[in-house]
Symmetry: C2
Subunit: 147 residues, 2 copies
Amino acid sequence: MSDPIAFRIMNEIGIIDQLGTTLFERAMPHDLTLPQFIVLNHFVRLGCERTPVELADAIQVTKATMTSTLQRLESKGFVSSKPDPDDGRSKRIAITAAGREARDQSIEAIAQDLAAIEEAVGRGPLTAVLPILSNLRNFLDKRRGEK
Amino acid sequence: MSDPIAFRIMNEIGIIDQLGTTLFERAMPHDLTLPQFIVLNHFVRLGCERTPVELADAIQVTKATMTSTLQRLESKGFVSSKPDPDDGRSKRIAITAAGREARDQSIEAIAQDLAAIEEAVGRGPLTAVLPILSNLRNFLDKRRGEK
DNA sequence: CTTGACAAGTACGCTATCTAACTAAATAGT
DNA sequence: ACTATTTAGTTAGATAGCGTACTTGTCAAG
């Protein structure tokens, strides 16, 4: 009668993703969307330049999707792009000072929401859940390539 | 240095949702998308007629989103729609026989994927995670209305 | 070399999602 | 009763995501 456990998990995850994305985007400055913020955040954490394909792999979207997100970020002046000197097909993307600032402002804007989540759900449960979710993500990622 | 625990959780959840959706949709018949399937599944589990707003609330999307999903389902012949006799603004949506069949086929199509997830992550961990995720979803849902 | 396979990036078409604005109907308040 | 508010549903405009197909450049094999 009741759905399989994996189905219920995926169901909850889908809803959480949707609600969380909406919540965060409402708080973010510069009309930054979550994917745009994630790209900026990735740059700050990893530093240095990246190619679109590298970014796409890191963030688990297709390169076509990354093209579109980078175009929007560039039009906002938050990333810069130049041709790769060693490979005529490729590009090198870097975050700009404005991008760094927008990222910092975003971090601050969602900090309260994140703290509220921690408060509501509890640090312990969240910490317990994380490795299991990582596990699930790894499995799905492998499965994506295989099939 | 490292991101807050809640941020990492939301990050994993976003990726899992994306990968899972893609995985399921590749397996589903009739070009059914995941949201379309979820609506059909809801009908089978809950039976009887529903209004678009009821469906939107149950599935946690806006009524505008539900309008579009229902239009696609109706064009595929998987749901039917008639005006509410008691309320001139409203509609009553019902699943059709073809819709029921498409839902059953979809269940079967994703069963292997679901089983593989259970196998890979383990029933125990999944069962442990579910209530915590429900908790998180409830919190986000409340927060959505408030702010 | 030249050719053929592969990789990087872009463009297009589709669905989903949101918000905001709108129409039409029901309901509450005076 | 009449008006004001709320509710149901749709539409429009924006972004994100996928897959497919295409262009261009790289690289290996003959």
